[in-house]
């Protein structure tokens, strides 16, 4: 503090000079209570800030609008007669991206929560002490730092992209799909400052369609694979594939690059198959080096891998499975939902932990009842995600420095587990309908269900507190899945491994509410997809999916970017062989899983979510969730406390 006192000067340039920094911070104080205003003004001046005080919110807003960029931080009272402080906060957040600190004599939790939800970066309870005001500069720095970090990050992605483009000839570049990444990135940037309420506005963001690139959707990839199969992997040339695929807008270069990757990918898979159980795959190494990342996801496969519970090749297979995952850019952070899901599962049913699950089931079997039921709950679903998503993205932000494959695996595994969970859940529901043990039902010929390993091992490998029995159950399923993925590769070589990999991909695509819906999908998946469309009002093509989402389901974009962040990472990383897949990997299933969890959990929640639907949830989903819990009291009954807290308390 003495630093501040020994300085004068009121320019923002002071920011660069550390010792003089907080001095000259341009603060706008808005309070209708003149007593407080006078005191605050005095206190802020004592802090060597450059203070503008204002007793009316409307005047303050005009000031802010007229003199854009001439304030660093806004201090605003909550109760003001001419304009609610939250409204001002919202407008400021929308229009000028300034840190806003709310103040009120009323420190009741719900009010503070409201402030935070509206995007206040701090909430000071009157009487405000000068100690608190001395510290407000941190919000300015934090905001600036965050923005610059994001810019850095996107720049880095861009750079790597360019590099990639140079290396792999033309990659991604095409008009088949609009730059989904760009969209997501933009949204990520903007979301930090904007209310979710206003997601519709983001639609019109001109930067959204900045860079067109091919997104190899499942459907597209299927076409590609069938073309390759038709030609034979050795004889497949881009030109012929392109002819066979007959997709408008797709260029030979796109196909060539994809084919190249595809070959590498197959090679890698067969290589992994040979090394079964011995050499750590490329996925495993970085994972082990990355305990931090592992701790990000509560259900860290990495942890398993690192502790030797999970053979590396299963991880690879896991990745393989994920590569064929549907492409909807509707990406959700699965981890958090998982916990909820698990807890709901736990609440709903007691699952034997040694149960193994079949993954190759055709979609037809997927009872439409379930999906229909889900579709009724779409609103609540969004809200759950809303609460969770930003938290994820926040955490992801901490991943920035740790750019390596670990993050890919991490995100993938999340999704995989999410998917598994979903399947699991599906099974549960089926169980409830058809009293039939759900052990290893296997329909797809290329899939082999392998008995799961003892759950005790998995339990031991679990570090996070939120893991419960269900969790270990899901681990088993993951295990199974990977084995099942892996088996064909191992035994029958490349040609069959294709089957092994891509057939299951139909299943996820069925659940995907993404834009990957197309006529080329099998009828059963279309069935599913239709339901999905109902739920999210999804457009039927991938390209438009991304852009239309914000319009129809305004809350979704934040999910997208939280994951996009991950995908961007994936793109960053040179060693990743199939970044294109990673890019597209979706955790849609987990979204549905949430649906189901919704279903399972409680109707009360629905009520709450509806009332909460229009609410603005920003960067403090933590808080939000707690609030959810608070408001929708009954939720507690369905989620074991420690589970919830385990995920959201950190």
């Amino acid at each position: 503090m003495s630093l501040m006192e020994c300085t004068s000067g009121d320019q923002l340039e002071m920011v660069v000079v550390p010792e003089q920094f907080p001095a000259g911070l341009r603060v706008l104080v808005v309070d209708d209570d003149v007593t407080c205003l006078r005191i605050l003004d005095r206190m802020l001046r004592r802090c060597m800030y450059n203070v503008t005080s204002c007793s009316q919110a409307t005047v303050a807003l005009n000031l802010l609008r007229e003199r854009k960029g001439s304030f660093d931080v806004v201090l605003s009272d909550v109760h003001m007669p001419d304009m609610d402080g939250f409204k001002l906060l919202e407008l400021v957040g929308l229009e000028m991206d300034l840190p806003v600190i709310m103040m009120s004599g009323d420190g009741r939790t719900e009010l503070v929560m409201r402030g935070i939800r509206h995007g206040a970066c701090d909430y000071l309870i009157k009487p405000i002490r000068d100690e608190e005001l001395k510290n407000i500069w941190q919000h300015v720095v934090r905001k600036k730092w965050k923005v610059s970090k994001e810019q850095d990050h996107s720049g880095c992605v861009e750079e790597v992209d360019c590099q990639k483009r140079a290396n792999d000839d033309v990659e991604y570049a095409s008009s088949v799909n609009e730059g989904a990444d760009e969209v997501l990135k933009t949204q990520k940037k903007r979301r930090d400052t904007k209310e979710d309420d206003d997601m519709e506005l983001e639609n019109d963001d001109p930067t959204m369609a900045k860079k067109p690139r091919v997104v190899w959707s499942v459907e597209l990839h299927q076409q590609f694979v069938s073309a390759v199969n038709q030609l034979g992997i050795d004889k497949a040339v881009p030109k012929r594939i392109l002819e066979l695929m007959n997709v408008p807008g797709l260029t030979r270069e796109n196909v060539a690059s994809h084919l190249q990757k595809f070959r590498l990918y197959l090679k890698r898979l067969s290589g992994v198959a040979q090394q079964q159980g011995s050499l750590p795959s490329s996925f495993c190494g970085p994972v082990e080096q990355n305990p931090k990342l592992a701790s990000l996801g509560r259900f860290d496969i990495q942890a398993l891998a690192a502790s030797g519970q999970l053979p590396p090749q299963t991880l690879a297979a896991l990745h393989a499975e994920l590569s064929t995952r549907p492409v909807g850019k509707l990406v959700l952070p699965a981890v958090d939902q998982l916990t909820l899901l698990q807890s709901s599962l736990k609440g709903a049913k007691c699952i034997p932990s040694d149960q193994s699950v079949a993954y190759g089931q055709p979609l037809v079997k997927c009872s439409s009842n379930v999906v229909e039921q889900n579709s009724q709950k779409i609103i609540s679903n969004e809200d759950v995600e809303l609460g969770i998503g930003p938290w994820m993205s926040k955490n992801l932000a901490t991943m920035v420095p740790a750019c390596n494959i670990g993050s890919v695996v991490e995100s993938d595994s999340d999704k995989l587990i999410g998917f598994m969970q979903y399947r699991q859940q599906e099974k549960q529901q089926k169980q409830s309908m058809v009293p039939e043990p759900s052990r290893s039902i296997n329909v797809q010929p290329s899939c082999v269900v392998i008995p799961s390993q003892s759950s005790a091992n998995f339990q031991a490998a679990n570090s996070p507190a939120s893991v419960n029995q269900n969790c270990s159950f899901s681990r088993n399923s993951v295990m199974d899945h990977k084995n099942l993925q892996f088996q064909p590769n191992n035994s029958s070589g490349v040609g069959q491994s294709l089957d092994g990999e891509f057939k299951p991909s139909f299943i996820p695509s069925g659940f995907a509410s993404s834009g990957s819906v197309s006529s080329s999908l099998s009828s059963c998946s279309i069935n599913e997809d239709n339901n999905a469309c109902q739920q999210v009002k999804n457009p039927s093509t991938t390209s438009s999916a991304v852009r239309q989402f914000p319009r129809t389901v305004p809350n979704i974009p934040c999910m997208q970017d939280s994951y996009n962040f991950k995908s961007a990472h994936a793109l960053d990383q040179g060693p990743v062989r199939s970044p294109i897949y990673v890019d597209k990997v979706t955790s849609i299933p987990s979204r549905f899983a949430v649906d189901k969890q919704e279903l399972l959990s409680n109707m009360n929640r629905e009520k709450f979510y509806i009332e909460n639907n229009g609410n603005i949830v920003k960067q403090e989903p933590n808080m939000d969730l707690t609030e959810n819990v608070k408001v929708g009291g009954p939720i507690w009954q369905h989620f074991p406390t420690n589970d919830l807290m385990g995920v959201f308390s950190d």
Binding site: D32, V34, I39, M43, S104, G105, D106
Partner: protein, 162 residues
């Protein structure tokens, strides 16, 4: 003699402040307020407190009006007034006024009309007490400043004379 008076007045002031603190009328926020007073704004405390009195009287009038005027009192509006009252009272360190405001707000939230009346009366009492005491304090301070101001010439002259 006059310098002596200034010292005595300072002691009076401190005694009064101590009493007010002891009674819980004021809290440490008032000390913060005093610390904000310096050469650049020598009358800061009294200035702020006067603003506070002005605002508070407006609020008290409004509150009374809200409670008396209609059959159906606007408890919501009352709550907003009380929030403001709470905010400003706590900002100057008027602890007891603030506490009564909290009780008042609780009563208004329950639409407890008699409770509101009782709280309002208490609030008015507390406010008047605070106002009187602070006025007393400022008066003593004024006298002290005057005493201190006139102290210098007599002190300097006797020094020069011998």
């Amino acid at each position: 003699m006059l310098g002596f008076g200034a010292e005595r007045l300072r002691a009076d002031m401190n005694r009064l402040l101590a009493l007010l603190f002891h009674q819980g009328v004021l809290d440490e926020q008032f000390l913060q307020l005093q610390q904000l007073q310096d050469e650049s704004s020598p009358n800061f405390v009294s200035e702020v407190v006067n603003i506070y009195f002005h605002e508070s009287e407006k609020l008290l009038r409004n509150l009374r009006g809200l409670l008396l005027d209609r059959e159906f009192s606007d408890y919501n509006k009352m709550g907003i007034h009380l929030n403001q009252f709470m905010g400003s009272s706590s900002s100057i360190g008027a602890n007891r006024v603030r506490n009564v405001c909290v009780a008042f707000r609780a009563a208004s939230e329950q639409s407890n009309r008699p409770g509101c009346f009782r709280a309002l009366e208490l609030l008015e009492y507390e406010y008047c007490y605070l106002k009187n005491k602070l006025h007393e304090l400022f008066q003593i301070e004024q006298q002290r400043i005057l005493a201190a101001a006139v102290r210098y010439p007599p002190v300097q002259h006797p020094l020069n004379n011998p």
